[in-house]
């Protein structure tokens, strides 16, 4: 059975300044043991998507659609059931680990907390498990008695990962786990995530704005733009042969060192990211699209299958896709 399935998920923030449709009809699926990367620029709704998976959105957000976690709809669960699902079935690694850890409680306590809450371990057993988890992420066990501020950014991110692993969930959602980190630390954390996923067969949803990072970590990629998935498919295909102009722009933003084509030729996308409160009509990307057609401004473009779709499905929401495939 599919581990996670989103069906037409939409999230709207109701704020005094007007409604902000942050996620607008996203459908995605994830099998157990698979890693899915979600890319997109700032404000495209990636974090909103992640938070909605465990119903952690603030009160002013209204959610529609379905979030099936192991076939069960998270959105309609009772609070009790939801609490049981949280962390035990799916856990989160947040964007900024320095804020996601409680600054005044010991690291060990924080890692052990979900164990205790879900009745998985207490006392000495929990302590043993904490030590084990810390070792797993490459931290010495005595760090359990330390406080978050005593750790560097990378170490804190590792603590977050240890915490996410605590209840052996089947799904981990990692929201920009490496963004704030230095190159070398980022490499450390990414390789840690990769090895853990491989070892435990956990499903991973990883969010980033750096397509290249995702491509090297995930099996499949979904590119979001203005609250929508505009392209999804196997990593390599999307990264190296993206069909949506936005995916291509993202892929080109980070050049390959040594590639003479990009030497002294930075490439990027003109125009500004859209304001989710005032999205353009039609394809929301069309004002920045180098290959837009007149029709793009008029009607929205749905996801279309790329290629024959026999193997891993690859879809993109661009008018040019259908032309090509025809």
């Amino acid at each position: 059975m599919t581990l996670l399935e989103l069906r037409d998920l939409a999230v709207t923030y109701r704020s005094t300044a007007g409604d902000v449709p942050a996620v607008r009809g996203v459908s995605l699926g994830l099998e157990a043991g698979e890693a899915l990367g979600v890319a997109g620029e700032s404000g495209s709704g990636k974090s909103t998507l992640a938070m909605s998976l465990l119903r952690l959105l603030p009160r002013d957000a209204s959610v529609s659609g379905e979030i099936l976690l192991d076939g069960e709809d998270v959105l309609t669960m009772s609070w009790g059931r939801l609490r049981a699902v949280r962390w035990a079935s799916a856990s989160l690694v947040f964007q900024g680990a320095q804020h996601a850890l409680n600054p005044v409680r010991r690291i060990g306590d924080q890692i052990a907390e979900p164990l205790r809450v879900h009745g998985m371990a207490t006392g000495a057993e929990a302590r043993r498990r904490v030590a084990e988890l810390l070792e797993q992420v490459g931290l010495p066990a005595w760090r359990a008695r330390g406080y978050p501020h005593e750790l560097s950014g990378g170490q804190r991110q590792r603590v977050m990962i240890a915490m996410a692993l605590a209840c052996s969930p089947r799904l981990i959602v990692a929201d920009e786990p490496t963004t704030a980190l230095d190159v070398m630390i980022q490499a450390q954390v990414l390789s840690l995530i990769r090895s853990l996923i491989a070892e435990h067969g956990i499903g991973l949803v990883m969010i980033s704005h750096d397509l290249s990072v995702l491509a090297s970590t995930c099996d499949r990629l979904a590119v979001m733009y203005a609250g929508r998935v505009v392209e999804s498919g196997p990593s390599r295909e999307v990264f190296a042969g993206g069909r949506h102009p936005y995916s291509r722009a993202l892929a080109e933003a980070f050049p390959t060192v040594g590639d003479p084509a990009s030497r002294m030729a930075p490439r990027g996308l003109g125009g500004d990211p859209p304001d989710p409160a005032h999205l353009p009509a039609g394809c929301s990307f069309h004002p920045r699209c180098p290959v837009s057609l007149v029709s793009c401004a008029l009607e929205p473009v749905e996801l279309r299958a790329v290629g024959d779709g026999t193997e891993a499905p690859h879809t993109a929401a661009c008018v040019h896709v259908s032309e090509e495939s025809r």
């Binding site: 190159v183 070398m184 390789s191 030497r263 002294m264 990027g268």
Partner: protein
């Protein structure tokens, strides 16, 4: 010709009762019309060096020279220096006072320096920075702009003083991937149009590849390798540069250095990189017979030369056995 130059600059801070040698002997020159990238991991002293070049930080020893003349630290001299050398910071949102309009933000420099024709200067700077027509932006507040536009405003603010050198500290790190290229292209264009030199501080080797002529790799307050981009980024000699290159996402065999960013209050003896050096760890250094030297032999401070140069015992040893080094570098 060298425009802006750091000569044997050292900057120390008192940090928790210790001395942090944030910049520990750096020679670096930016030539006219040249774009130099300064790369290194977090905390290695890049920002400190950049600030020192602007006179925002006073070196503990060594000197900053502009056009060959050492910088004086009287407020008059500093002000004059800052007409020639300008700074662009990492975070465009933070770099703009939220209460000032675009016009005020760009006009701030001319006002401080009491330049005549403020309006024209502002308009020109904005259009050079790619915000056209400039009048449309005059009255906007930063929060009404996108990230890329904000960074353009910051750059325009620097351009309004008509500087010769731009020091950009991680100019695109906080920008969206899609906007990044545009800003970098702008820097290239400014060099082409105005002959502007730039020192770009970054931890992103891709950026250096994108726009820089020369790259200097910094580690723990020192430049450990420098030279033309093509040379350094395709055939690095220093193990640290190699490691940095290897962890780029597409790279086939990443060499992930262990441990945390080094601490400038405890600089190791010998080669400052040796505790983390993969060459030393793999035994290659011992093979070359330099392992003892790595741990205790001080390395000289690299001069500010345009040539490719490296501060590494192993690399120097290898250089002596030229032929073999060549093949090894290629294999890597």
């Amino acid at each position: 010709m060298t425009l802006l130059e750091a000569r044997d600059v050292r900057v120390e801070f008192a940090s928790r009762g210790r001395r942090a040698r944030a910049v520990d002997g750096v020679n670096l020159a930016v030539g006219e019309g040249e774009i130099v990238a300064l790369v290194g991991e977090s905390g290695c002293g890049k920002t400190t060096l950049a600030r020192t070049l602007l006179g925002l930080e006073r070196p503990t020893s060594g000197s900053v020279r502009y056009g060959g003349v050492p910088l004086a630290y009287s407020s008059r001299a500093l002000r004059a220096h800052r007409r020639e050398v300008q700074l662009v910071l990492q975070d465009p949102t933070g770099s703009l006072n939220p209460r000032h309009t675009v016009y005020e933000a760009v006009a701030e420099g001319p006002r401080i320096h009491r330049l005549p024709g403020e309006g024209a200067l502002v308009a020109e700077a904005l259009s050079r920075a790619g915000l056209r027509p400039p009048e449309r932006f005059f009255d906007r507040h930063p929060h009404e702009l996108s990230g890329g536009q904000r960074q353009r405003v910051v750059i325009a603010g620097a351009l309004a003083l008509e500087p010769r050198v731009l020091v950009a500290d991680e100019p695109v790190a906080s920008l969206d991937a899609s906007v990044r290229g545009e800003i970098l292209a702008l820097l290239l264009r400014l060099r082409a149009e105005l002959g502007l030199s730039a020192l770009v501080v970054t931890h992103d080797l891709g950026l250096a590849w994108n726009i820089a002529d020369r790259v200097a790799v910094m580690y723990l307050g020192r430049i450990v390798e420098s030279g033309p981009v093509e040379r350094i980024l395709t055939s690095p000699s220093h193990p640290y540069t190699r490691a940095l290159l290897s962890v780029l996402p597409e790279s086939p065999s990443p060499v992930v250095l262990g441990g945390e960013p080094p601490d400038p209050t405890r600089i190791p003896a010998g080669c400052r990189f040796h505790p983390r050096c993969q060459v030393l760890a793999s035994g290659a250094a011992a093979e070359a017979g330099v392992d003892g030297l790595c741990a205790s032999g001080e390395l000289p401070v690299l001069p500010s030369s345009a040539e490719a140069q490296v501060a590494c015992h192993h690399a120097s040893a290898s250089a002596r056995r030229e032929a073999r080094t060549e093949t090894e570098a290629e294999r890597l």
